[in-house]
């Protein structure tokens, strides 16, 4: 299926010419008949928006800048943290604490000073998405949450902009091209997001640092193919990347005639995506209603001699990093089998890394008849920051 960049904003003016420095810089592209001077001028005229300057956005932005895409828009509002550096190559150690867009600007300018950068230091929302995306030829989705992914998808469908999609978790990646004239969109594959807490984030579940390099580079490749109108883009195919087994394979995806975005087109405007993702899956996971205990309160009550059972529902390899003294390790997926061993009358505090898995555990314990049970708010990370700095963060 061929790409469609029907009337991109960049085509309203004649293609720019290349100067001597650019001819030299892009010499290896100019040797490719599929690119050549005309294609390189097309790239120079192009306008690409990258949503998220993180794991996926880093390699994508670097390669698109190096390739000579004339205008790169970046949307991000985050600060560089040291935990980003394992995979987010736009940012370096000296950038910790800076706005990601500031370090991205410096890095990309060094990569190719010919590229015009448009920095959108904001969260992409239903209020600003159409305005921001409208001025670009295509969008590269490098976001890290379901709400923004549905937002990017719907905005791209409404505006007719191709959405070059990528997502990652642990050792698995996915990539595709959505929202082209005849192809499917993200909602055709995933009509609804998982309920909150069911699918861990990379912060909870981890990700191989190289994986966003693979998938973000694939996204940059697809974007360049779309701009140049060459090759066979990932339209109607979902590429599955398995880093552990070194397997790349694709499955076929179709436009769903009942898709409210690209099928029936009943979705005529952007919606509240936080709400959409909070209430999906029929019954919201009910995590908001789970009883919580603050780390400091838990520490005080334990210090005063209250016999609170402390259960760690993380995985054994996380337990090895650090733990709260006196805790018992029962990984979440083994909790069901361990419930008969627990004293349902005694108070129980459950913790994990950040508070999501413990909330799921508490919900299960409540369903099993436990009454005095809490999830430790903010997990071991908050415990480390507020109670015991000797417990390492990760």
């Amino acid at each position: 299926m061929r790409a469609s960049l029907a009337s991109p904003p960049s085509r309203s003016a004649p293609k720019p010419t290349l100067d001597r420095e650019e001819l030299l810089r892009y010499g290896r592209h100019l040797l490719l008949p599929e690119v050549a001077i005309d294609g390189q001028r097309t790239l120079k005229a192009a306008r690409v928006l990258i949503v998220g300057a993180g794991g996926l956005g880093s390699p994508a932005a670097l390669y698109l800048a190096a390739a000579g895409v004339g205008t790169l828009g970046l949307v991000d509002f985050d600060i560089v943290e040291i935990t980003n550096l394992q995979r987010q190559l736009l940012h370096g150690t000296r950038d910790v604490g800076r706005l990601k867009l500031d370090s991205a600007r410096d890095r990309l300018h060094d990569t190719n000073p010919n590229v015009k950068l448009e920095l959108h230091a904001t969260r992409l929302t239903s209020d600003n998405a159409l305005t921001i995306i409208r001025d670009y030829d295509l969008v590269l989705d490098g976001t890290d949450n379901f709400a923004t992914r549905y937002l990017v998808n719907d905005a791209c469908v409404l505006l007719g902009k191709p959405n070059v999609y990528g997502s990652i978790f642990r050792f698995d990646g996915q990539a595709s091209v959505f929202a082209t004239a005849d192809g499917p969109c993200y909602r055709c594959i995933y009509p609804e997001p998982p309920p909150p807490g069911l699918v861990p984030s990379c912060a909870e579940g981890g990700v191989l640092g190289v994986l966003p390099g693979l998938v973000g580079t694939l996204q940059a490749t697809e974007a360049i193919k779309l701009m140049l109108g060459i090759g066979t883009p990932l339209i109607g195919r979902l590429l599955l990347v398995n880093a552990l087994d070194a397997q790349f394979r694709s499955v076929n995806v179709r436009r769903n005639p009942l898709c409210p975005a690209c099928g029936t087109r009943e979705l005529r405007e952007l919606v509240d995506y936080e709400q959409f993702c909070a209430t999906s899956g029929g019954e919201a996971a009910g995590l908001d209603a789970v009883p919580q205990i603050e780390p400091r309160e838990l520490a005080i009550r334990r210090a005063s001699g209250e016999a609170i059972q402390l259960i760690d529902v993380r995985e054994p390899h996380e337990w090895e990093i650090g733990r709260i003294e006196g805790a018992r390790l029962i990984p979440l997926h083994r909790l069901g089998g361990a419930i008969p061993e627990l004293d349902a009358q005694a108070p129980i505090a459950v913790y994990c890394k950040g508070g999501t898995r413990s909330a799921l555990a508490v919900r299960d314990l409540l369903s099993a008849g436990f009454r005095r049970v809490w999830s430790v708010s903010g997990g071991i990370l908050r415990w480390s920051r507020e109670v015991d700095a000797g417990v390492p963060e990760y």
Binding site: D144, S167, R170, F171, I189, G336
Partner: protein, 91 residues
């Protein structure tokens, strides 16, 4: 020869780390039931309380989305491959 079910890593840990499982059954639903019998932890991640597929987990039978080919009632044959893909949002 049974069919093969491929799991993403997010689900493989619930199947003793297996990314590929042999399964038997005449339909997709029967094949899925076969593996959830052997790995009960998988069940709530593959099907809802009514035994139906979730909208955020997609099943591809020989690379085709089963929603366009009979859904869980789709017939499977020996040697078929059922690929299960779960929505992930990391970036």
């Amino acid at each position: 020869m049974p069919l093969t079910i491929s799991l993403p890593s997010i689900l493989a840990r619930l199947a003793d780390g297996n990314r590929a499982l042999d399964a038997s059954g005449a339909t997709v639903a029967e094949a899925v039931a076969d593996v959830t019998r052997r790995f009960p932890s998988l069940a709530p991640r593959l099907v809802d309380e009514h035994g139906e597929p979730y909208p955020f987990v997609t099943y591809y039978l020989n690379d085709e989305d089963i929603r366009f080919a009979g859904g869980f009632g789709a017939t499977v044959r020996d040697g078929d491959e059922l690929t299960i893909v779960s929505a992930v949002a990391g970036g």
